[in-house]
């Protein structure tokens, strides 16, 4: 019984490794575009897209098969003449802002950008009031003397 369980466990453990490795990567997953200018465009874009499997990496940095397939999409579309911005929009339309590895200003993320600005404005206002007050206090003192 134990031996049988062990055998089942072994097949289950070996199956995904063996199968996933046996599939060759997409043509442009690891191959650069021949034109260096296009490759530079593709590479810049790949650094701004999030790998959906390994969520703290860009697709440029990830070895996950799905990241390879996303790199293929990016390079193939650049080669077909699509602009990097259009490819970004295409992916964001499918996965939301989450697929962007670069902060995007949108209806849900604008407070992230607005709050620091607001804080700076408030601090500047408080500082101006205090410093202005002190200066006018000083003026008063000078006038009195």
């Amino acid at each position: 019984m134990i031996r049988w369980l062990f055998a089942v466990l072994l097949t289950v453990l070996a199956l995904p490794l063996a199968a996933q490795d046996s599939m060759p990567p997409a043509p442009y997953a690891y191959n650069q575009l021949a034109d260096p200018r296009l490759e530079a465009e593709a590479s810049a874009l790949m650094h701004t897209l999030r790998c959906l499997k390994c969520q703290s990496q860009s697709i440029a940095d990830s070895d996950a098969p799905m990241a390879g397939d996303m790199r293929h999409q990016v390079r193939a579309r650049i080669l077909a003449g699509e602009s990097p911005e259009a490819i970004r929009r295409w992916l964001i339309a499918r996965y939301g802002d989450y697929v962007s590895y670069e902060p995007e200003v949108s209806s849900t993320t604008w407070p992230l950008f607005a709050v620091p600005l607001l804080v700076i404005l408030i601090v500047a206002g408080v500082l101006l009031r205090r410093l202005g007050k002190r200066r006018s206090d000083g003026d008063d003192a000078g006038a009195a003397a």
């Binding site: 995904p16 996933q20 397939d69 339309a93 499918r94």
Partner: protein, 174 residues
């Protein structure tokens, strides 16, 4: 009043520390949901994943609402959901599969071992269609209505408890 404002920074700090502690204890949601719900399926035509069944294309999604199952023979949770897909198929649901990064022999082997609930299976060797519909992993199951519009997404393997939900979503998509 003055005393209160003195305590305010500490209170704020305590609030954020508490919030951080609370968020750390919450389970992290790793799922990336598709933002294609309510959108029509993009055009695609995939070759058969193996000899036994026809391939899959956008044109197959006409008539009654159907399930689009994104899976792979190398995917372990796909084994777990196989009985549920079979149960859905027995209830008359048409399931169209898309096999991700898969080989014909592996697909045939998987179906021989765990049953075949599919009407068609297309082979997506480079995750092209998967990316086009906003799916971020295997398995995922989409409810597609008779006009080819994506109506619902189930992420992860289908448990027995998810079958009624999917049937209800298919009903809703009529």
């Amino acid at each position: 009043m003055r005393k209160l404002t003195l305590w305010l920074p500490l209170a704020l700090f305590a609030f954020f520390a508490g919030l951080a502690a609370y968020m750390l204890t919450q389970e992290k949601d790793q799922f990336v949901e598709s933002t294609m719900i309510g959108q029509p399926l993009p055009a695609f035509a995939l070759d058969p994943a193996f000899d036994g069944l026809p391939g899959a294309s956008r044109a197959d999604f006409t008539g009654r609402p159907k399930l689009l199952n994104i899976w792979a023979s190398w995917c372990l949770p796909c084994i777990a959901e196989a009985p549920q897909l079979e149960a859905l198929q027995k209830q008359g649901v048409e399931i169209i599969g898309i096999a991700i990064r898969d080989k014909p022999a592996d697909v045939a082997g998987f179906l021989a071992r765990y049953g075949n609930p599919y009407a068609r299976i297309g082979s997506d060797r480079i995750s092209e269609v998967q990316l086009a519909i906003g799916s971020s992993g295997v398995p995922e199951t989409f409810v597609i209505d008779g006009k080819g519009v994506i109506r619902y997404q189930h992420i992860g393997d289908i448990g027995a408890e998810d079958v009624p939900t999917l049937l209800a979503e298919l009903e809703k998509a009529q």
